[in-house]
């Protein structure tokens, strides 16, 4: 865990969120003053189907502690099938990362624009889970 005491460790989470649902859900959480830990940096995608699993690899190899992916509920993708394809890609990349013990740093959720509460809850859970896990072993590595 390095020199950092676990309690002081503030995880860095990168979130890839769909413009039409989770990104708006995060916005709603903010405007309705739902409290959640400030560990996540969101990157807006036009659809979860835009997520290239290479993004996940790059984030983890560059030392961020976790990746969050938020998309529309199955059946509600604005491009009809984007999240169905995304689900397959995420399942595959998590299966690969599982071999190296990194899968528990990647979490995907379906979260709509009206689910500000859900978004806040997931962020809270993730921050807690990753705090328990400790920093990403790839942090600070010369890669």
């Amino acid at each position: 865990m390095g020199e950092e005491a676990k309690e002081d460790f503030e995880p860095k989470i990168i979130g890839f969120t769909c413009n039409w649902c989770t990104y708006a859900g995060a916005d709603l959480a903010g405007t309705s003053r739902k409290k959640y830990p400030p560990n996540v940096r969101l990157i807006r995608l036009m659809c979860s189907g835009r997520l290239d699993p290479m993004f996940v690899l790059k984030v983890l190899l560059n030392g961020a502690d976790a990746v969050f992916i938020g998309g529309c509920h199955p059946g509600e993708c604005h491009y009809i099938k984007g999240n169905f394809y995304a689900r397959r890609r995420i399942a595959a990349i998590r299966t690969i990362l599982k071999q190296f013990g990194l899968d528990n740093r990647v979490r995907a959720e379906w979260c709509s624009a009206s689910e500000g509460d859900k978004f806040a809850r997931i962020m809270k859970e993730m921050a807690e889970d990753i705090k328990k896990l400790g920093p990403n072993p790839m942090r600070g590595k010369i890669l």
Binding site: P74, Y85, R88, I90, I142
Partner: protein, 354 residues
């Protein structure tokens, strides 16, 4: 299944017939070169040498599917190769890198193969053909088949359009697997009859054996172990170039982002304080693991190609198998079966997301 039993020497006539009757315009075929075998592309039937036992030689050089990658012309090519090579060709058809109507895929029984240089060096001991007992005996003498072959459970000639199975003595059983295959055999004037070629027992034995061997393989189970495993990798990308199912016209790792040079490289170092060079070693391998995860046939061509002797079979095929399991997909099993990433079920995989 329809097929016919032939003697070794009759195989020559069959292959010549395929060219003669214009069923194919050319054939990719293993032939003897000194103590070894190599592929040739033959268009003139008079250049065909007696195909057996060369086609069964336990020697792996290049994955033949890699040679026909990009075969999108109308002229038809026949390929006589091991099951892993035929399966790779089937994946390439699905990936639109080979035109389905332009290939006739002929698989041959495989016993497991030696690296071609090992085969040539020990030809005296190995001979033209091995079975599992002989493989064990040779292993005792320090002459081992490739790790990819030790864990391979697709060794029977039951893929592609035509299968050439070895039967006792110097005989083969030729079967038509698809309509294209049956038509080709009929055109070559073989009289086909119903043949029982299930070989269920044999299949189960191979699968059990392969599974055992796979369990014995050293595992890479953490990022630290992966770093250590790849320590000597110089990112030459030979493993990619020899991979039959890696096919991008311009690979990400040949572009500025994937292969930063000059100012780009300097910027990267400034950004992070230090950067490993050649750059992107881990990113390259993990990306490739993902890119071939559904289509990797486990032929071991990557490992053979590595100038640093990194045992890549422990990385690529082993992890690909785990991904293939979640989609219940077997690459090369069926040309009509869609690739996992171009299809989906409305309800699935929710337990694999978090």
């Amino acid at each position: 299944m329809k097929g016919t039993e032939l003697k070794y020497e009759d195989l020559e006539g069959l292959l010549k017939g395929l060219l003669d009757k214009k069923t194919v315009d050319c054939l990719i075929l293993p032939h003897k070169v000194g103590n070894n075998v190599a592929y040739m592309m033959v268009t003139d039937k008079n250049k065909i040498e007696p195909p057996a036992p060369a086609i069964f030689a336990p020697s792996f050089s290049v994955n033949a599917a890699n040679i026909v990658k990009g075969w999108t012309i109308k002229e038809k090519i026949g390929i006589v190769a091991k099951p892993c090579e035929i399966r790779a060709a089937i994946e390439l058809i699905k990936l639109k890198q080979i035109d389905k109507e332009s290939v006739l895929l002929i698989s041959v029984d495989c016993s497991g193969a030696f690296k071609n240089q090992d085969y040539a060096d020990h030809y005296g001991e190995i001979g033209d053909w091995v079975d599992s007992a002989k493989i064990e005996e040779l292993k005792g003498k320090g002459i081992a088949i490739r790790e990819a072959c030790a864990i391979c459970d697709h060794r029977l000639a039951d893929v592609g359009d035509i299968g050439i199975a070895r039967v006792d003595g110097e005989k083969v059983l030729v079967t038509g697997i698809t309509d294209m295959g049956l038509d080709a055999l009929s055109a070559a004037e073989l009289s086909l009859e119903d043949k029982e070629i299930e070989r269920k027992g044999e299949k189960e034995k191979i699968a059990a054996d392969a599974k055992k061997k796979e369990e014995e393989l050293a595992k890479i189970s953490s990022m630290e172990e992966l770093e250590e495993f790849l320590r000597d990798c110089i990112v030459c990308k030979n493993c990619r170039d020899m991979c039959p199912v890696c096919y991008c016209k311009e690979c990400f790792f040949d572009q500025p982002l994937g292969n930063p040079v000059g100012g780009d490289l300097l910027n990267l170092s400034k950004l992070r304080g230090a950067v490993g060079v050649p750059a992107n070693q881990l990113m390259y391998h993990l990306t490739r693991v993902y890119h071939v995860s559904t289509t990797c046939v486990g032929c071991g061509a990557c490992e053979d190609a590595c100038p640093k002797d990194i045992p890549l079979t422990r990385l690529y095929p082993v992890i690909a198998e785990k991904v293939q399991e979640i989609f219940e997909y077997v690459p090369g099993r069926d040309v009509e079966e869609p690739l996992p990433f171009v299809t989906y079920e409305e309800e699935e995989l929710e337990d694999k997301l978090r």
